[in-house]
């Protein structure tokens, strides 16, 4: 009963377009009033201070700042042009460069929106030049962008790690192989589409080995940054937060080398970072408070008992959770969806016997799916906004094949959990 009422209150409050951070706190207040004698609001001060001064969480603003500097450093355009040389011989041409650039940029960026926007800006001009099928081309950008949160570093993984007490380095390790497989799946999707309808693939782009070798150094900056940021974590040289700090320095060096560092630029970076951080942190504080209330009133145990009472098998619990996210993902903003549901779904899944690291990766894949599934998918909006013409449904249709690729990927890790678990087991 408590569970049903709590869920109803949550949906009602968040559905009424109250800012998510405040909404979660309000739900916490209401549930506190209804079900607990203790005035839990008294904890709000201490809770907010200890949450926001948590060293692990400083990784969030660091990655945001890292991304902001990277964006302004100009590495994206050069990287994209080099990718064209190396990947566009495949049927589907530039669309493979889109996916490849997103994967490489995603491997240094922790955000999907930033990845889609950055590669999108660089790639958009090419549609008309080479007569591509516009919808599919847009789809590669929207879908490719989502790789930003699966391939480490990933802001979403840090949030998941902190909220569920899961090791962030292990999540990072676990994200690599699925990230690589998904990139290949996206490319395969383009390949199959263009072999079926060759005219979708646009005109052939002239490349030469000479050009390829000449542009190769342009792929280096992101690779070096990747090595610094992720390598340091894997070899145990630095924690996730420390390596993010090193990333900021690395990005600054690259930006300075390209003569992009100015006072105005630094001011914009600082302001942008703080605004985005505050938005994420506000939601986190609301969610942590709600989490405390939920635990105090014994909601999680109640749900667990419910599952035992109905004798649900682990697979059934998992299916229910996956379906829940696919449904929520169609209309809910992705970050809020993740933060507001983790406190409930993770204990259930772990209770059913699944590994929290594995579930973290599954969750990221589900969020990626949500990002490109209509009507609400943030990456669809980003790509549509970038294009500045046509309708949103063009992007939605173009992304549909990639939603299928994502569902296949989700199926793969459910059937073969080792895709996720092998790396953290061997290196972790």
């Amino acid at each position: 009963m408590t569970a049903a009422i709590s869920l109803a209150v949550l949906l009602l409050v968040l559905g009424s377009s109250i800012a998510v951070a405040a909404g979660m706190a309000m739900v916490g207040l209401i549930l506190n009033q209804l079900y607990s004698q203790m005035p839990l609001t008294r904890m709000l001060g201490e809770l907010t201070w200890s949450t926001t001064s948590n060293f692990i969480l400083t990784a969030i603003p660091f990655y945001i700042m890292f991304g902001e500097i990277l964006l302004r450093s100009g590495i994206a355009e050069r990287m994209y042009n080099a990718m064209i040389q190396w990947l566009s011989w495949l049927p589907g041409g530039l669309m493979h460069s889109n996916v490849g650039s997103c994967a490489l940029f995603g491997s240094v960026s922790g955000s999907s929106v930033a990845t889609a926007a950055t590669i999108g800006v660089v790639a958009m001009g090419e549609i008309d030049k080479h007569k591509y099928n516009e919808r599919l081309f847009l789809g590669t950008l929207a879908a490719g962008g989502t790789l930003g949160i699966l391939i480490p570093p990933s802001i979403n993984m840090i949030i998941y790690g902190v909220m569920t007490d899961t090791s962030v380095p292990k999540l990072y390790l676990a994200g690599f192989i699925p990230g690589f497989i998904l990139t290949v799946l996206f490319s395969l999707t383009v390949l199959i589409a263009c072999m079926w309808k060759p005219h979708w693939g646009g005109e052939k782009i002239q490349t030469s080995w000479e050009e390829r070798w000449r542009t190769l150094p342009d792929l280096l900056p992101p690779l070096v940054l990747l090595l610094i940021v992720v390598g340091a974590i894997f070899f145990g040289l630095a924690t996730a937060t420390e390596s993010a700090a090193v990333g900021i320095l690395g990005a600054l060096v690259i930006a300075a080398w390209r003569r992009r560092v100015t006072l105005t630029m630094l001011r914009e970076v600082c302001e942008g970072t703080v605004r985005t951080t505050a938005m994420v942190v506000a939601i986190l504080v609301g969610a942590f408070f709600l989490n405390v209330v939920i635990q105090t009133i014994g909601l999680t145990q109640q749900l667990a008992r419910l599952i035992t009472a109905y004798q649900l098998t682990p697979a059934q619990v998992l299916t229910a959770v996956i379906v829940l996210y696919l449904v929520l993902g169609t209309f809910m903003e992705e970050l809020s969806m993740m933060i507001s549901t983790i406190p409930i779904t993770t204990p259930l899944i772990v209770h059913a016997g699944y590994d929290p690291v594995w579930f973290g990766i599954l969750l990221v894949l589900l969020i990626q799916t949500a990002m490109i599934s209509p009507p609400f998918g943030i990456n669809l909006f980003v790509i549509h906004g970038l294009r500045g013409r046509g309708t949103l449904s063009d992007v939605e249709i173009g992304s549909a094949p990639f939603v299928i690729a994502l569902l296949i990927m989700i199926g793969l890790i459910c059937v073969f959990p080792d895709i996720v678990m092998w790396a953290p087991r061997v290196f972790g």
Partner: protein, 199 residues
């Protein structure tokens, strides 16, 4: 009132820039710490505490910047389907009022945290032994400023409501559509890329 908001905007922007600078400084201190650790097996100590404080302070000041630029996430699936402008205005007011209440509670109990640190003369655990009242006072100031900004916006929205000027109300506190949000992100990216020095 309008001037008051202009001043508030300027202060919150300043707060955000200083907060960002704190974060940048914290990241550099961490890098130095790592370098010393591997080069001389030394540690300055406290780099993690300092960056934690930087996050707490900058996010407290960022709350108001995000509120003024309407960047706080709202789920507008229902909102955009509400036809009545009056109902939408009511939802906007409700959202802002909840935020003010939430911020007020956090600030109120945040004051308690600061007071407690002062009374018990708490210092950070690491080698730097900074009195906790310093970062906590800056953090609390950010929270208090957020509440002030929320109340100011609430008052302005209320006045707009009384004047029946809903357009003004939406400009102040309306929900920004996701598409508008995406467009802002894009213009930031495009602006950043334009800075490329032409050869």
């Amino acid at each position: 009132m309008e001037r008051l908001q202009a001043i508030a905007t300027a202060i919150s922007r300043g707060g955000a820039i200083v907060g960002g600078a704190l974060l940048l400084a914290a990241s550099i201190v961490i890098c130095i710490d790592i370098a010393l650790r591997y080069a001389f097996s030394l540690t300055i100590g406290g780099a993690d505490d300092l960056s934690g404080y930087a996050l707490a302070i900058s996010s407290a000041w960022g709350f108001s910047a995000a509120l003024l630029s309407r960047s706080h996430i709202r789920i507008d699936t229902v909102y955009v389907r509400v036809r009545s402008r009056a109902a939408r205005a009511a939802l906007d007011m409700l959202s802002l009022a909840s935020f003010a209440l939430f911020g007020g509670l956090v600030a109120w109990h945040g004051w308690g945290v600061l007071q407690q640190s002062y009374v018990s003369n708490s210092h950070s655990q690491s080698a730097i032994e900074m009195p906790l009242t310093i970062p906590q006072a800056l953090w609390f100031a950010g929270l208090a400023f957020f509440v002030a900004v929320a109340l100011l916006l609430l008052a302005r929205a209320l006045l707009a409501l009384l004047r029946r000027d809903l357009d003004d109300l939406f400009r102040l506190i309306g929900s920004k559509s996701a598409l508008a949000e995406a467009k802002e992100e894009i213009s930031a990216v495009a602006h950043a890329l334009e800075a490329e020095p032409k050869k």
